[in-house]
């Protein structure tokens, strides 16, 4: 109990320094479950599950995506140069490069987000709620690797302050926090998150012969270390001939499935060694994470299933229409491209912003699946539809619930 004594000794005064105390409380309850007992008026025994455990299991499900996402940043970077193009060549360099890009995003998102959470919690006089544990893990994964950190900070601040705290904190928000941060970047700084240029890290412009830009971290810290231990190091290079950096989705727009397969094999798209947002590319790892969430019962299978059904049906209908190259992409290939699985497993299933009734969840999921597919396929301005579709369905989730509840009420009134 040594650690417990230390904690008790350093506990700041709640009145004098509320923010410090809130920070202390957050760290302390992280290290030790509190000694509170049931009140004696309700249940005497409680389930072992709490919100911390709930949230951390979502983060665990994301673990593989962080690792793969970091590696893929490095992989895409070297492919652009035409160096180490095999997936398992220069593993160390790719991973280091990816981490140099991903860690600052992760740290900035969490410092800004948790900072705001702690300050608001102190002002309101309650404990820091755990909602941002998941948001803070999701946000880096849905951003392009080269996103300027200040833009990320502004986006996270916007999402947490306007999207969450203004509505009353964790559990009260209407829109998915992570997607709100992304949609903010998407509309406020579109050039940093849309187009063919942004998905490969390390280049100002992906034109032929453009030079690689290595920052201070790589040239002055990592390279000397690598050279000291006699390993291969980062060497300035130029973009290889014919490299475009286009994602499968933008290729499919212009030339349908044939244009996609000229650049990427289905295996590449399936395993995820393609450019894209950091966490979205690896389908097997996402499906593993989704299965983990389903087996532990944390995410709603109803939403995942209904969203899949909605997307498949809509893709089939659009196939039948077939008016543009994108619409002619066979429906099952739609799932190789873009971030359907990531959105389904981790974004749509956010319990706070989804429908709260089981019937509502079916409607909610089908809505997202169908609308997301429509946006992706028909609207040329938005290369991917899930972000907007989920935010749209978030907006309507309370309405869906209202009608489900109203049906329940009407049924009961009729019986009387």
């Amino acid at each position: 109990m040594g650690l417990l004594d230390i904690f008790k000794k350093i506990e700041p005064d709640k009145k004098k320094s509320p923010i410090l105390h809130t920070l202390f409380d957050a760290v302390f309850t992280f290290a030790y479950s509190p000694n509170t007992v049931t009140s004696g008026k309700g249940v005497h025994v409680r389930d072992g599950m709490d919100l911390k455990r709930q949230m951390i299991h979502v983060v665990l499900a994301l673990g593989g995506l962080f690792l793969f996402g970091a590696y893929n940043i490095g992989h895409q970077h070297f492919i652009a140069q035409g160096n180490y193009t095999g997936f398992l060549e220069a593993v160390g360099l790719k991973l280091i490069y990816g981490l140099v890009k991903l860690l600052p995003l992760f740290i900035v998102a969490n410092v800004v987000g948790l900072g705001i959470e702690i300050i608001t919690a102190a002002r309101k006089g309650h404990a820091v709620e755990e909602g941002f544990i998941v948001s803070g893990a999701l946000i880096p994964l849905i951003m392009p690797p080269d996103l300027p950190l200040w833009i990320l900070a502004v986006a996270v601040a916007f999402a947490v302050i306007i999207g969450k705290e203004a509505f009353g904190g964790t559990g009260m928000n209407i829109w998915n926090i992570a997607l709100l941060a992304r949609v903010f970047v998407f509309f406020a700084y579109p050039t940093t998150i849309a187009g063919d240029e942004v998905w490969v890290a390390g280049y100002e412009k992906l034109a032929e012969g453009a030079a690689t830009e290595y920052g201070f971290m790589i040239t002055s810290v990592i390279n000397p270390i690598l050279e000291a231990i006699g390993s291969i190091s980062f060497t300035p290079a130029v973009v290889a001939d014919g490299f475009t950096g286009a994602t499968p989705l933008s290729l499919a727009y212009q030339g349908g499935w044939d244009a996609v397969t000229q650049h990427y094999s289905t295996a590449q798209m399936f395993w995820g060694s393609i450019p894209g947002s950091i966490g979205e590319t690896s389908k097997p790892l996402i499906v593993l994470g989704a299965l983990f969430l389903l087996i532990t019962g944390i995410a709603s299978w109803r939403i995942m299933l209904s969203m899949t059904i909605g997307a498949i049906v809509m893709a089939m209908i659009l196939n039948a229409w077939g008016a543009s190259p994108m619409m002619t992409v066979p429906w099952m290939y739609q799932f190789y491209m873009g971030s359907f699985f990531f959105a389904m497993a981790f974004m749509a299933t956010d319990p706070v912003t989804a429908s709260g009734t089981n019937t509502g969840k079916w409607i909610y999921g089908i809505t997202i699946g169908a609308i997301g597919m429509i946006i992706r396929t028909i609207n040329p301005a938005y290369p991917e539809g899930w972000m907007l579709a989920i935010l749209f369905a978030n907006t309507f989730a309370p309405l869906i619930d209202h009608y489900v509840l109203q049906a329940n009420i009407t049924k009961r009134l009729k019986r009387a």
Partner: protein
Amino acid sequence: MNKGIKLFAFIACLVFSVSPLAAQTSGGSNKGFIIGLIVAGAILLLWAIISITDNLLQIEANKAGIDPEKENMSLFPKFKDLFSKGAPAYVQDNHFVRLNKGFDIKLAGGISDESIHDAAVTRFSLSPYNFRGISPIPKVVVAVGDEVKAGDVLFFDKKNPDVKYVSPVSGEIVDIQRGAKRSISDVIIMADKEQQFATIEAPSLDAISRDELVAFMASSGAWTLLNQRPYDVLPELTDVPRDIFISTFDTAPLAPDSKLFIQGNEAAFQKGVDVLNHLTEGKVHLGLDARSSKSNSAYAGFENAAKHYFAGPHPAGNVGIQIHHINPIGLNDKVWTLNVQDVITLGKIFTEGKYDASRIVALTGAELKEPKYVRTYQGANIAELLKDNVDSNNYRMVSGDVLSGTAKNGEGFLDLKDDQVTVVEEGDQYEAFGWLAPIAPRPSVSNTYPWFLYPNYKHRANTNTHGEKRAFVVTGQYENVLPMDIYPQFLMKSIMTQEIEKMEGLGLNELTEEDVALCEFVCTSKAPLQELLREGLDYARAQQ
């Protein structure tokens, strides 16, 4: 849950496996699209015709008075007929309900030996707090030092002086305790070694009108055995219940086996059911246990009662759940509920002419040296019941089960309707990373704990909250453990915002604390649902 995973995996496989085959097929053309539309339209039309026919058939069946629960007059098989297991053979033609939602909390400290011991309890109490709706300071007609017999009047409510509250045991009044605002909290009786019963001249049921029966019950103390839903109150003398419901089994954690209650008391129970039949315009309904494949219900042979079998995990034995599946409480309905042991006490007034409030009580919990059944009376002192039996220094005594019982201190008495005492460890300790990697197993519905693979492991629970209170975040978890057509989370929110019409529309009247207790147990946000529900019930009752 499992079905969902399977279906999802199936579709995921489909998406990945079919793709290479269909790669060659082209996207289709406008012609195909139009044909598709026509086919879809035709299917829709056909479906409309069939469903209209089906509706008409069911309307006809309704007019002919066919019970839709028993005869399926629809063209479609019922969903539950397709997917649920059939009823055990002993159910025969009786109404059978299999509940799939719910959860059995497996706790250590159950009773292995079914023999019933005598309890050496000397102090008993009748507490006005146990009767919801009576004035806080009833008129006490006895004084400290008076001798009373079992069945003698102890106090009555000044607003409703005809209803008498009678002593559960014979002995000497030793104390009249007062609680907050000088309300009477306990009338305490030191029991005699040999119990004396006041003689009651019970009328014959054949020659008595309902009004006379009600008057007799009010004066003999039998009326106080009744409980009225909604709100769980003592009924007014003018109330006529739509139906009366008796659950003959208890599914709560470590609950006593109700077949012990009935042994030797069959005649009294039957008489009690007969009396209740006189009091209602509807029926007396018995909820029977159909959880095991072999018939074990000692209650199947009683007459004058409609029998309904229930199978499934807790809360299948809760009378509120059973009412919901037999005939739900409507907005203007009043129904009565009784425990088995109360029915037996009621019956004995008529068969033996005495108010016999003896109770078989299960002493349970992992903190006991020897969990066992004891024979005692209503309102027994809990510390005396547990004397020399507790094997712990830091424990909580609960009158009732761990889900909806009441915590008692050493001076506490068994609550009126309780037939169980549970002793659990107080969990007032910090636990390093207790939320992430708990070493000690604890009961949970969550599959994030590896021991979900061992559903029969008996846990040693404690009273720690295992986390702090939060806003509602997780959805759908209450619905998984409440086998009713109710949305508990939205109901709770409507109680918080005091929207009376929404509360009642969402089924407030059908619930009582014990029904939402399991929801409170599983709640990730550690919300006090039972307190909240009672707030709503009190609020709705005040609006009447």
